[in-house]
């Protein structure tokens, strides 16, 4: 366990730790371009130079391992001058087109320029011109002029996605990134290359020109596209999700997320259930809840079946089960959910439902033994009421048929589909970006889903609906459910 | 009573009250706006025109009149309809009737030569309070009620001072008849100084003018109106009801000017010229004209004060009336009594 001193502060680290990692742990900022904690070290940008007592020349702190008795200086005049020189060199042919660059505002080159270089260009000649707006793949656009050849993107493809699709061609100031002829950057993690790009060379076509980075505010939430539950940050501007980017979660997804999950928010931009409907006619939320509350006790005499969705949060599940059992103690519950899909060995899992694990735990806690979905479909003609949560059920057609045969059929969903068409009562519910609660992923990691955008109109969380229904039925839910949030 | 008398009286009523006083009041509405604008470096009303002639905005009173007649005479839902309708008349009638006793020229040039003169003036001007109070009360509006109360309290407060500070004039001239007071002011003091009221009662004049302006509810005493805060007792009035309140206010300016000219500026008297008023001919015409000039000057002077002094606070108005004017009026009577005793 070597002990070393960085800027006069001592730290003991495991053998093999790089100086830059040790400095990060101490909170000492060493500027870097090519170094990324989730990627192998390349050591090509020379931005992270530091002085040590073991070498006459500055060394790259991202490469040099810590040694016993190392004394590291990160802020000597020589180092500051070195950084300034490196930056000036990097910026030699950089177009400095920040106004039209999507990276502006979150660009490491921009930040470091203001921190270290901060001078006008001394380059008296015309800058090199290279390809601009070159489409590398379905998700990625490449600007060769802005590229500083740090090769983070190449390493992401190779090391994280296990798909070596990018390569650096040419040398020196002519170097640029490219795909092999006749191929394109199309692996399922291609958007991670834009995340790691420290400048605006690689940008996603999804976010390109859409909104400036400084206008958004990020909400830390969880991706719901598979049971992995990757940590994501939803960047929101004017109450609209502008993009999703992965956030670092060492227990789940490290620094990465798949393209599919990052584009999933588009699914909730169209086809939303807009308003409460009774028999196809639009009505207001209060009236819908009132009519359900009036019909439910009578229907409970014949039997109530409930189809839950593994997309609902734990709080939703608890509130829904508690509220329905207060009026129909004999209600049967089934768990629906999206059908299994493809999986890979990086992040994507086969189960496409984010909270199957958490829902099972809540049901076990409430002593509910879920029955099979087919069983409910078979019972449908005898039932008094069938309540379906969510639209993302694999057996939607069968469920729709069952809904049509039940006197009191209720669907709460964010998206239109065969279920909402078949049900008599339709309530709009929140998308994963509008809800707040807890999900438990397949590994058992409990994570918080946060509300990124405010839902519009009569859109309500399942828990809020259940709570309002319980109020109407004269049996208000105990306090914790009310604390789980939702529309006022 | 002869037909001649009736016709003569009618001619005097129409000539003095309608032509001189009411038209003057109408023109004063224009003067007020024009004068304030000139004082404030503006142009003021100048847009009303007849056949392209603008005449410095002199047609604005006519335009105002036409507008007032043809607008909705609106009555609020909660109002006492009869009182609401009558209140402007209550405000206007006394101001017109006061002119009956004002001598606008020598000899018979007064509509009703009453011996009670000034007492009649006080009695009639006291009626003005009814218009204000009834208008505010009948409107069933909080602002109007507040304005009416303020108006009533303020008017009765200053009525006291006004009554007391003309006692000195009565003592000096030994009469309350306005005709006799004017006649007495033709005398000369020490053989050269006209014995005008302002000469023998300077403090009385100042107190009278302040009290009269306060009773007329004009700035700086326009608390019952207070257009920037409560709008006043006529807040619910529109069209001619409102215009009548305004008209009576402007007529009262003329009333004050007439009374002040009569009591303190010798009425129709031209100094050192025909003090008995028996000369007739062009001298009488000149005397009537000189009276009109005094009235106009005093109207102008009241307007100048109105555009010079900011509005008081209500408690200041009340304490000015009771704590300053009233003691000063009493002191004025005392001093007058002592001086007259010493002179005699």
């Amino acid at each position: 366990m070597p002990t070393l001193t960085i800027d006069g502060r001592e730290i003991t680290v495991e053998p093999g730790t790089r100086i830059i990692e040790a400095a990060d742990r101490l909170g000492i900022d060493i500027p870097r371009f090519c170094y990324h904690p989730g990627l192998p070290v390349a050591g090509n940008c020379r931005m992270c130079l530091v002085d040590t007592n073991r070498s006459p020349k500055p060394v790259a702190s991202c490469w040099d391992p810590c040694q016993e008795g190392h004394v590291v200086t990160t802020n000597s005049p020589r180092i500051l001058e070195a950084r300034r020189s490196v930056l000036e060199y990097i910026l030699l042919n950089h177009p400095v087109d920040c106004p039209i660059c999507d990276q502006a505002g979150e660009c490491e080159l921009q930040d470091l320029y203001f921190a270290h270089d901060h001078q006008a260009s001394r380059h008296p000649f015309h800058k090199h011109h290279k390809d601009k707006a070159r489409v590398l793949g379905p998700q990625i656009v490449y600007d060769a002029e802005r590229c500083i050849n740090c090769t983070r993107c190449i390493r992401v493809c190779e090391e994280v996605a296990k798909a070596p699709q990018l390569v650096q061609v040419q040398r020196g100031e002519r170097a640029y990134i490219d795909v092999f002829p006749g191929t394109q950057l199309d692996h399922p993690y291609s958007m991670c290359t834009a995340d790691v790009c420290p400048v605006g060379a690689l940008t996603t076509r999804d976010f390109r020109f859409k909104c400036r980075a400084w206008l958004t505010h990020g909400i830390q939430t969880v991706c719901g596209e598979c049971s992995r539950g990757c940590g994501i940050r939803a960047d929101v501007y004017r109450n609209e999700v502008q993009r999703l980017v992965p956030r670092h979660n060492p227990d789940v997804n490290q620094y990465w997320a798949c393209d599919h999950g990052r584009l999933a928010y588009h699914r909730f931009e169209t086809g939303r259930v807009a308003a409460v409907r009774i028999g196809g006619a639009t009505t207001d939320y209060a009236k819908g809840v009132r009519e359900v509350a009036e019909a439910l006790p009578g229907a409970a005499l014949r039997g109530v079946a409930v189809v839950l969705t593994p997309w609902m949060t734990d709080e939703d599940a608890w509130a829904v089960v508690t509220a329905i059992r207060s009026v129909a103690p004999g209600a049967t519950f089934a768990v629906g959910g999206a059908a299994p899909g493809a999986a890979d060995e990086v992040l994507v899992l086969a189960d496409k439902n984010p909270n199957r694990n958490g829902l099972a735990r809540v049901l076990a806690d409430l002593a509910v033994t879920p029955v099979a979905l087919d069983e409910i479909v078979a019972q449908a003609p005898a039932l008094g009421a069938l309540i379906v949560f969510g639209a993302e059920h694999a057996k939607a057609e069968a469920l729709a048929g069952a809904l049509a045969r039940v006197p009191l059929s209720i669907v709460l969903a964010a998206l239109e589909g065969p279920l909402t068409a078949a049900a008599r009562f339709v309530f709009p519910s929140t998308s994963p970006y509008e809800t707040d609660g807890t999900w438990v992923n397949e590994q058992g990691v409990v994570q918080r889903v946060r509300r990124a955008v405010q839902p519009a109109g009569d859109v309500r969380d399942f828990a809020v609906w259940a709570s309002d229904l319980a109020d109407r039925l004269g049996q208000p839910l105990p306090a914790p459910a009310r604390a789980s949030g939702g529309n006022p | 009573m002869t037909l001649t008398f009736v016709l003569l009286t009618l001619a005097k009523i129409v000539g003095f009250i309608l032509v001189f006083c009411v038209i003057l009041a109408a023109i004063l509405t224009w003067v007020e706006r024009k004068m304030s604008s000139i004082i404030q470096d503006r142009i003021g009303p100048n847009r009303a025109e007849i056949l392209g002639i603008r005449a410095f905005g002199l047609f604005h009173p006519i335009a105002d009149m036409i507008k007032s007649f043809t607008k909705e005479d609106f009555v609020p839902a909660g109002a006492n309809r009869i009182m609401f309708f009558l209140a402007p008349a209550f405000a206007l009638i006394p101001t017109l009737v006061v002119f009956a006793v004002v001598p606008f020229g020598p000899g018979d040039l007064v509509i009703a030569n009453l011996d009670s003169g000034m007492l009649f003036v006080f009695a009639i001007m006291g009626f003005g309070i009814y218009g204000v109070t009834l208008g505010g009360w009948a409107s069933a509006s909080n602002f109007a009620m507040l304005g009416a109360l303020r108006g009533a309290a303020q008017m009765v407060s200053y009525e006291v001072s006004m009554g007391l500070n003309v006692v000195g004039i009565f003592a000096v001239f030994g009469t309350v008849s306005l005709t006799q007071i004017v006649g007495a002011q033709g005398h000369l003091l020490w053989g050269w100084l006209p014995m005008w009221g302002i000469v023998v009662q300077p403090l009385g004049f100042v107190l009278f003018l302040v009290a009269a302006m306060a009773e007329n509810k004009r700035a700086p005493f326009d608390l019952p109106e207070g257009e920037s805060e409560i709008i006043g007792y006529f807040v619910e009035y529109s069209a001619m009801g409102f215009a009548t309140f305004m008209l009576s206010e402007f007529i009262e300016i003329v009333v004050i000017a007439c009374i002040a000219a009569t009591l303190f500026f010798g009425g129709w008297q031209i100094p050192w010229l025909d003090p008995t008023g028996t000369a007739g001919g062009w001298i009488t015409v000149a005397q009537v004209a000189f009276f009109a000039f005094k009235v106009l000057f005093l109207c102008w002077f009241q307007m100048l004060i109105r555009w010079t002094v900011p509005r008081f606070r209500y408690d200041q108005v009340m304490s000015l009336g009771w704590k300053v004017l009233l003691p000063l009026s009493l002191a004025n009577i005392l001093v007058t009594a002592v001086v007259l005793a010493l002179v005699a």
Partner: protein, 138 residues
């Protein structure tokens, strides 16, 4: 007709004239102006808000106090007028002149004492309830 009553005839004519003028303009306006009313228009003006309270309720007692003082002092003023009119004639005789002077000093003294008493009681202070408002000059 005697000359004594002629002024009163003229006065009656003036009053009739004034009443005629006042009623004429009000009635004429009522005939000429339009009449369109609705509930919102009919409400009392209070800068757009609905009034909280009726104006026909008990009013601040200070207005009554002022009314009482008016009656008291105005009646006394009326007593002064006959004195004023006759004062100079009375001064012509030494005895009545002295009496008139002393009498008016006593009368005004009584008035002044009354005023002093009312003043001292605070009845002339318009804002007498509660302490003076705090003045915060930032």
């Amino acid at each position: 007709m005697e000359s004594q009553t002629l002024p009163y005839v003229a006065l009656a004519m003036t009053i009739a004239f004034a009443v005629f003028i006042a009623m004429a303009i009000l009635v004429l306006n009522r005939l000429l102006g339009p009449r369109r009313t609705n509930a919102v228009k009919g409400g009392p003006f209070e800068c757009g808000s609905d009034p909280i309270d009726s104006p026909r309720k008990r009013l601040n007692v200070r207005f009554y106090a002022v009314a009482i003082f008016f009656v008291v002092f105005d009646i006394e003023a009326v007593f002064l007028f006959p004195w004023a009119v006759n004062y100079r004639e009375l001064l012509a005789s030494p005895v009545f002149g002295a009496i008139a002077l002393v009498e008016i000093v006593v009368f005004l003294g009584v008035l002044a004492i009354g005023l002093w008493y009312v003043w001292g009681k605070g009845a002339l202070d318009w804002a007498f309830d509660g302490p003076a408002p705090r003045r915060d000059h930032g």
